[in-house]
């Protein structure tokens, strides 16, 4: 493990991260080794977020640095989101076009080793089911900002039951007005208040724990 690379990422020193990646590459490190160092940094950043030492801005900046580091290696983000930790289907539900939170969650999940199938915004109910069937995702993330999109969340969750998939996937909801009470009311397995909570819930779900 390259401590300098990991530390530079944790400290948001973008140029130093890119320099360390180039140096490691020139020294013969494999892309897999370099990605592992970067993901160790992402893990530490996540821990600092949990401890309220870091905030959303650090999650966003570190995910961006991570992406640029992959580009430095000649890779795109799919090199990191190999599904090592699992696959997450993500989208903003039908009737809602807000995507700030959803996009941040996608970046942070990806940088933490999840494969992310991002369906975008205003996603029809059935598209979530089909993407889950095609990708074999273990986790589905439903996002909304509008309370008027709650029925669409509920319909989406019901569609998984109709397709016989409900007990095969964990469904997590997120977004401004969403909380644990609502998750229970809608029949979801959990609610994420932040991108880092989404990572924790997804990890827990993939490991077989309750989301």
């Amino acid at each position: 493990m390259s401590e300098s690379l990991t530390t530079a990422l944790v400290e948001m020193r973008e140029d130093d991260v890119l320099g360390a990646v180039r140096a490691a590459k020139n020294a013969g490190a494999t892309p897999a080794d370099i990605i592992a160092d970067l993901q160790a940094g992402m893990k530490e950043i996540g821990d600092k977020y949990e401890a309220e030492e870091y905030y959303l801005s650090e999650l966003i900046m570190s995910a961006e640095i991570f992406k640029r580091a992959l580009e430095e290696l000649g890779l795109d983000k799919s090199a990191a989101d190999t599904g090592r930790r699992g696959t997450v289907v993500l989208g903003t539900v039908h009737t809602d076009i807000h995507d700030i939170g959803k996009n941040i969650v996608a970046s942070v999940l990806s940088a933490n080793g999840f494969k992310v199938v991002d369906l975008g915004v205003d996603v029809p109910v059935q598209a979530f089911v089909e993407a889950t069937q095609e990708s074999g995702a273990q986790v589905v993330g439903l996002s909304c900002l509008l309370t008027t999109a709650f029925p669409a969340m509920q319909e989406t969750i019901a569609a998984f039951a109709d397709a016989g998939l409900r007990d095969k996937v964990s469904i997590i909801i997120g977004g401004g007005p969403v909380n644990a009470d609502l998750a229970q009311q809608l029949g979801a397995d959990g609610a994420g208040a932040s991108a880092q909570e989404a990572v924790n819930l997804a990890a827990s779900a993939v490991q077989g724990g309750a989301a």
Partner: protein, 370 residues
């Protein structure tokens, strides 16, 4: 400010801001889209004229029956692009006549615009930006809304409905962040902090002078100081200290100096920095929370310093039962009130909140007083 009044609703508001004992925790309705829906008006019609929106707010207020005031008595959709430098999908144009408006996260503004702002000055840049990049005629729509101010106040005064403010003002962070998109703006703060700060300082000069002076001229009790994406939970402490707090603090000073109540409309989670609000003038401000900030922590830290407003969760108002709303609000009144507290929804009342739930909120305050 709120002058002493023979109307008990105005008195409750005045005393709540001054942290004086009240006979009942006042209830404020932040209706906007909900007001239209609850009286059976389409959003397209609600947004067609500021006076129609005002009448809808008056009708909704009277329908609830036992609330004490509304937050803003009117609304116009052009105000959102003006504040946030981005497009909005409009009922009747971009979405159905009665579907909620939705703010775009499109990144109309580029990093090159920082230099343009410095060259042109903010007012000229903003005028050109709104009309040329978002929608032709947008600035004129907003100016038309402002011109309706005196007629709105006349209508509201005739109805007797108390209200808190006529204008929303913001710090540069919110406009730039809305224009750039949240994620891109965060990257700008890390990659070009000095440039962003130079732009913020440049545009801040006089940014809100007209809104503050206009509010005072209209006799508005207070002015909204909006904080959405600049919340503590969004930003590393050094970024918040440098790009948010100095501007918020200065805005409060400006509003207070004009004799108006600074209404800190702080959405999302500001818990980390609540103690900084002790630096603001005592017994002058209202801190309006949306249920993401720890309201009990706010009471603990700021209860002797400023009035707290909120923070009934939107999801509860939208999807809970009247009994659940009543129970939640009764607990809020007990924990946060009765002194220095105004019971309100966390941010706007959701458009789909049943009338019975809003009445349950108002009833909880009334029953607690009896």
């Amino acid at each position: 400010m709120i002058a002493p009044s023979s109307d008990p609703r105005w008195e409750r508001l005045r005393k709540s801001v001054a942290l004086e004992p009240v006979d009942k925790v006042p209830v404020c309705l932040e209706g906007v889209a909900w007001s239209a829906r609850v009286i059976g008006m389409s959003l397209k019609e609600f947004l067609s004229d500021p006076l129609i929106a005002t009448q809808a707010n008056i009708d909704a207020f009277e329908l609830v029956g036992n609330a004490d005031c509304v937050n803003n008595p009117t609304f116009d959709l052009s105000s959102l692009p003006f504040l946030w430098m981005t497009g909005v999908k409009r009922p009747g144009y971009d979405v159905g006549d009665d579907e909620p408006w939705q703010v775009e996260e499109s990144g109309y503004m580029t990093t090159d615009d920082y230099d343009r702002i410095l060259e042109m000055g903010w007012p000229a840049f903003q005028a050109q930006f709104l009309n040329e990049r978002i929608r032709p005629g947008l600035l004129e729509e907003f100016l038309g809304f402002l011109r309706a101010g005196p007629a709105v106040v006349e209508k509201v005064s005739a109805s007797g409905m108390p209200y808190l403010c006529m204008a929303i003002i913001i710090q540069p962070f919110e406009s730039l962040c809305g224009g750039r998109t949240f994620s891109q703006f965060i990257l700008d703060l890390y990659r070009m902090p000095d440039k962003v700060e130079e732009v913020m300082q440049s545009m801040f000069q006089g940014l809100n002078d007209a809104a503050i002076a206009g509010s005072a001229a209209l006799g508005s009790p207070g002015v909204w100081i909006g904080g959405w994406r600049s919340a503590s939970r969004m930003l590393a402490q050094p970024l918040w200290d440098r790009f948010v707090w100095p501007y918020v603090s200065e805005l409060v000073t400006q509003v207070d100096a004009a004799g108006l109540i600074p209404i800190l409309h702080f959405d999302s989670d500001w818990t980390r920095d609540l103690s900084r609000l002790l630096e603001l003038p005592a017994k002058k401000c209202i801190l309006s929370l949306d249920s993401m900030t720890d309201v009990r922590k706010a009471k603990e830290i700021l209860g002797d310093h400023m009035c707290i407003m909120g923070d009934v969760p939107p999801a509860l108002l939208s999807s809970g039962t009247p009994e659940q709303v009543y129970e939640h609000c009764t607990q809020l009144v007990k924990d946060i009130g009765p002194t220095g507290y105004i019971l309100q929804s966390g941010c706007d009342i959701p458009i789909d909140a049943p009338l019975e739930n809003v009445r349950a909120m108002a009833d909880a305050a009334e029953d607690a007083a009896s």
